[in-house]
């Protein structure tokens, strides 16, 4: 240790190491870990090592979970679930409260353990991970207490399989376990193979407080173990991790009926306008991409800076970079620790060098990296163009790209030029501008003049290939509850014979030609074919045989109708009311048509009522202001998806269509609908009603034809944001699997009684919540 006199010359900070004695004693005592199943640790099986990425020192051996381990854990969770769900909410609240309390009592221990296992700076474990994890359990103790009041009629899924990543191990555990338990589910959780230790310490806490056996089960292992959990007989899978694995899980769970939420990758924009507080924005970058070594799914990794301030901003950012301290994660002066694993380090290096090879220039901190361990000097890439791999792919390391824009419109365009949609950070002192951009960016979370701010009361989650579902707040709780399914009704399958039949002529009088309805105009099908609509063996008309290209055209038309999503709820309500009015005027004709084809004429009155119902909702499905931090307006806004696909039931040809399409458009979506295949004429008759009701062209597009073929095209369409499908189990499985490519959320259902098919749950499915954080203070 240098003398005071020497230090007075250098004014160095010196070492400030966090002690690890307690954690090392615990690790030494445990040595090799089994799984935590049914309230007890199993004997260790085949184990693998988990190490400290800052030193490559082995910390412990943990067991590679087998199919049998997963089966045992799921069985334990299954046994425990009915009793757990039957407990009064208050009693579950007491358990969650006890967990929160115990995490708090072990706060320092868990912080040190987390830092050892992940390589993240102790300051972050101590000031971010642990406080947020604890807050999550307190917050959800509250939801358990209020469950019956606030979620009447809802039920837990049952057993939840939960797979969490290595970047915030204990915090992600909290995000998964707390709402699941509060809602009455039991869980089997698989921590990431690189970072299993805090989950195992958490298991000990569950045992210590005497949590009922089987409520929380923890099985360690790698991706193979995770896949076994996905395949196991659980009722819901919740996954946080890479988009690649999320997509595989979507495919694996397709058709199984398992509920699914995915919180995946991102390439989030960080937009700096010319009127921003540039020094604040520079600190924002530190919080965005040099936080947790950049291993943050919502990291602001694409810096978009107004050309007017690009030079001073870059200069300030470069100066700030030089102040970062990279090194021993246990040192309290360390800003950036180790990358979690050599595999990840290699990936970061590879992507950065590919970015450089594609023309970007790396500005990197000139810091002395420790000789051992997985370290990467933080930096940013300038001169990256949109096709540069460093601007496209998630680096998941401490390197952002920096590029410029000219106007707010261009900033939004660049921000949305990504397959992801997790978060966005917007820097401007002009709140009008900032909120306008907040509304326009495609992201689940938007931070104004700040970034990477979290709270248990606010929803977190993404859109597009960043996944679906929210964690935190009321919407996060809703993801662990289900509305009991409506009773299903079998329906017959339709016949799509397009071969001309010399039958009796369909209808007397002037021929009526049903067409497709695309962009507000009636269109002939691209195929040029029509198929016969029959009733009791007799042809009652011809319907166009829609195909892939018609779907393509319909989706394009729906995209052009973007004004509908920006219209006020009042204006959308006016159109819906007008549809009801005009349908009512022609009710007799619609009733006669339904009756003559063997359908219930009451569908018409029900459809009129449904239009009124969703007209009523159009300006009332409010968002919320969340109780998060002081001096912060945290908004939870319902946003439409944009363009949705809707495959309608074959039964109830008018009401089934109305029950699905009306809530979707009431919320501001534009829809491409596939009406009842065996009786599309109930819907093709509606075109004139739409036209006379001032429904803008392209808001509702109708393609008749074979439901599953058309639904497949919608599912495979990357520019369709969500898809509802009513039909067969195989069709549902197909829709879910094919939707994996762009990870559009799907809602699949079987035919049901449509007379009561309305309610808030339809609106929830037709929207996603965007959380917008707006700090204030002078």
């Amino acid at each position: 240790m240098p003398t005071v006199t020497e230090i007075l010359e250098t004014m160095d900070y010196g070492p400030a190491p966090e002690a690890t004695d307690e954690v090392r004693a615990w690790l030494a005592a445990r040595g090799r870990f089994g799984h935590f199943i049914n309230g007890a640790f199993t004997k260790p099986g085949d184990t693998f090592a988990t190490d400290n990425p800052a030193t490559a020192e082995i910390l412990a051996e943990v067991t590679q979970g087998t199919n049998a381990d997963i089966a045992a854990a799921v069985a334990a969770a299954r046994r425990a679930q009915p009793k757990w769900a039957a407990l009064p909410g208050h009693t579950r609240a007491e358990w969650l409260y006890a967990i929160a309390r115990h995490l708090q009592k072990r706060e320092r221990f868990l912080s040190v353990l987390e830092t050892l296992d992940t390589g993240k700076p102790i300051r972050e474990s101590r000031d971010v991970d642990l406080p947020l994890a604890i807050r999550h359990f307190y917050h959800h103790a509250g939801w358990a207490e209020l469950l019956a009041d606030e979620f009447p009629g809802q039920a837990p899924h049952g057993v939840c399989g939960q797979i969490i990543p290595w970047n915030f191990p204990l915090l992600m555990l909290a995000w998964k376990v707390a709402p699941a338990l509060a809602a009455g589910n039991t869980v089997v959780l698989k921590p990431a193979e690189y970072t299993p230790l805090t989950a195992l310490a958490f298991a000990e806490i569950c045992a210590e407080i005497g949590l009922p056996k089987g409520v929380v089960n923890i099985v360690t292992g790698d991706g193979v173990t995770g896949a076994a959990l996905v395949a196991a007989p659980v009722d819901k899978i919740a996954f946080t991790g890479s988009t690649e694995v999320g997509r595989a899980i979507r495919i694996a769970t397709a058709g199984t009926g398992k509920a699914l939420t995915l919180e995946l990758g991102g390439k989030s924009p960080f937009i700096v306008f010319a009127d921003a507080d540039l020094d604040a924005a520079v600190e924002g970058v530190v919080d965005a991409i040099w936080f947790n070594q950049g291993q943050v799914c919502c990291a602001g990794s694409r810096l978009l800076v107004a050309e007017a301030v690009a030079a001073p901003f870059t200069a300030r950012l470069t100066a700030r970079l030089a102040k970062l301290r990279v090194g021993d994660p246990l040192d309290k002066c360390t800003d950036m620790g180790a990358i979690v694993h050599p595999v990840q380090l290699a990936r970061v290096r590879d992507l950065v060098s590919r970015g450089e090879a594609a023309g970007a220039t790396l500005v990197q901190a000139e810091c002395q990296l420790p000789p051992k361990g997985s370290f990467f000097a933080p930096g940013f890439l300038t001169g990256a163009q949109p096709a540069n791999p460093a601007m496209v792919e998630e680096i998941f390391g401490p390197v952002a790209t920096l590029s410029t824009f000219r106007t707010p419109d261009e900033a939004v365009e660049l921000a949305n030029n990504t397959r992801y949609g997790l978060s966005a950070s917007i820097w401007s002192e002009n709140l009008t501008l900032a909120l306008d951009v907040a509304a326009k960016v495609r992201a689940g979370v938007v931070w104004v003049n700040q970034t990477n701010v979290f709270d248990a009361a606010a929803g977190f989650g993404g859109t597009r290939e960043s996944g679906f579902g929210r964690e935190g707040g009321r919407e996060g709780m809703a993801a662990y509850l289900r509305t009991p399914d409506a009773k299903t009704r079998p329906e017959a399958s339709a016949d799509f014979t397009a071969t001309p039949r010399p039958d009796t002529p369909a209808t007397p009088g002037i021929d009526r030609t049903a067409k497709l309805y695309i962009g507000g105009a009636q269109k002939r099908p691209d195929s040029g074919y029509s198929y016969a609509i029959t009733h009791k063996g007799a042809e009652i008309g011809l319907a166009p045989l829609g195909s892939r290209k018609d779907i393509r055209n319909a989706v394009e038309a729906a995209h052009k109708a973007s004004g509908w999503s920006k219209a006020t709820g009042h204006n959308r309500a006016q159109v819906l009311y007008y549809i009801a009015e005009n349908l009512a005027a022609r009710a007799a004709e619609f009733e006669a048509r339904l009756k003559s084809t063997g359908h219930d004429p009451k569908e018409v009155q029900s459809t009129i009522q449904r239009a009124f119902y969703y007209a009523a909702w159009a300006d009332k499905f409010d968002g919320a202001v969340k109780s998060t931090k002081t001096r912060n307006v945290t908004l939870g806004m319902h946003e439409p998806f944009g363009v949705m696909g809707v495959a309608c039931p074959d039964a109830a040809p008018l009401l089934g269509f109305a029950s699905l399409v009306l809530p979707a458009i009431a919320m501001g979506n534009r829809v491409v609908a596939i009406p009842a295949a065996s009786m599309p004429l109930a819907v093709t008759d509606l075109y004139q009603v739409f036209d006379t009701s001032d429904l803008p062209g392209g808001v509702v597009n109708i393609v008749t034809g074979p439901r599953d073929d058309l639904a497949r095209t919608l599912a495979q369409h990357d520019d369709v944001a969500a898809l509802w499908y009513c039909g067969s189990a195989q069709g549902a499985a197909m829709v879910e699997a094919e939707s994996a490519a762009n990870l559009k959320p799907t809602w699949v259902m079987e035919n049901r009684d449509w007379t009561d098919a309305q309610g808030r749950s339809f609106l929830t499915r037709a929207t996603q919540i965007k959380t917008i954080w707006v700090p204030y203070g002078e």
């Binding site: 003398t3 005071v4 007075l8 900070y13 600190e283 924002g284 002066c333 800003d335 700090p775």
Partner: protein
């Protein structure tokens, strides 16, 4: 310890509102940065001791009270000459240590000069109608000349807050420039009274005008406002002087004053200077802490460092 009279003089620059009029400052972000700054750095053992010693080197040990007397000032000066008990100084391995300066009212300058004779410790005098500054300009300038005549080495002036609140930058510039002129070779610290200016944008603008008018230091507070030195305000002033330095190449000093009472405060403000500016701003020619009771807490902490025992202030010489 006395500064060479030409060290880091700020020659000033013509008034140019374009340097500050469009400044964007986000208060919650400034507060967040200020909070995270001190959480990001930690000083232990000898390092903490050294940084506390450095705080003493940079301290303007101050008495600015209505009941100041020559004897009270003499006692303060005795503490400035010998800020730490001998056993603490020895335990730290130091031979000699004084505070950066002593800061008093103009009528106490003579007493301070006499009490500090031969120590090399500069005497700073507040002037210009401290603390409110609402006196005719000629009297305020006369007060500067009086303090200099009494032997003051440094002058801490106060600005007319009304000029800031009214956006009257020319008036503010002219007044400070006149004061700077009156100061001659003496370093001039411009007290912005940030607690009166309220908004961080006002603070930034006033900082920039003061520097353009030739202030060698910008200083937060008189100690008499409702709110005195805070980290967010200091952060914004430091960013202003960094920007001034980037535009002119001139290094301007910073002096937080008022409300800082603990050794922890001493570390926090030094961390702020080191992180936002760098090593140069941990020297008394560019950084001063205007404080009274802070020294007592530092001495207790350093005694603990040296002896391992928690200290009692009753065993330390009163300032």
């Amino acid at each position: 310890m006395s500064l060479p009279p030409t060290a880091h003089r700020n020659p000033g620059a013509p008034l140019d509102p374009a340097w500050f009029e469009q400044i964007a400052i986000n208060t919650p972000a400034a507060e967040a940065r200020a909070a995270s700054l001190t959480a990001r750095r930690s000083l232990k053992k000898a390092y903490q001791a050294a940084w506390l010693v450095n705080a003493i080197r940079c301290m303007d040990l101050t008495t600015l009270a209505g009941d100041d007397t020559e004897d009270r000032v003499a006692r303060l000066c005795a503490k400035a000459r010998r800020p730490l008990a001998d056993h603490i100084l020895a335990g730290l391995g130091l031979d000699q240590l004084t505070t950066g300066a002593v800061c008093v009212y103009p009528t106490m300058v003579g007493a301070a000069v006499r009490a500090l004779a031969g120590s090399g410790i500069p005497v700073a005098s507040v002037a210009t109608g401290f603390p409110a500054g609402l006196m005719p300009l000629d009297l305020r300038l006369a007060e500067i000349r009086y303090a200099l005549d009494q032997g003051a080495d440094e002058i801490d002036i106060v600005i007319t807050r009304a000029h800031v609140l009214q956006g009257n930058w020319a008036a503010l510039y002219d007044e400070i420039a006149a004061m700077r002129d009156a100061c001659g070779d003496a370093h001039m610290k411009a007290i912005l009274a940030t607690g009166d200016l309220k908004t961080l944008r006002n603070v930034y603008k006033a900082s920039m005008v003061a520097m353009q008018a030739g202030a060698d230091f910008i200083k937060t507070s008189t100690g008499k406002e409702g709110v005195n030195a805070t980290l967010p305000v200091s952060l914004i002033m430091v960013r202003a002087l960094r920007e001034y330095g980037a535009r002119t190449g001139v290094k301007v000093g910073f002096k937080p004053a008022g409300g800082m009472k603990t050794a922890k405060d001493a570390l926090s403000w030094q961390i702020l200077m080191n992180e936002e500016m760098g090593r140069d701003w941990l020297r008394p020619d560019l950084f001063r802490l205007g404080a009274s009771s802070m020294l007592g807490d530092i001495e207790r902490q350093l005694e603990h460092h040296v002896t391992g025992r928690y200290a009692s202030s009753s065993r330390h010489a009163l300032a």
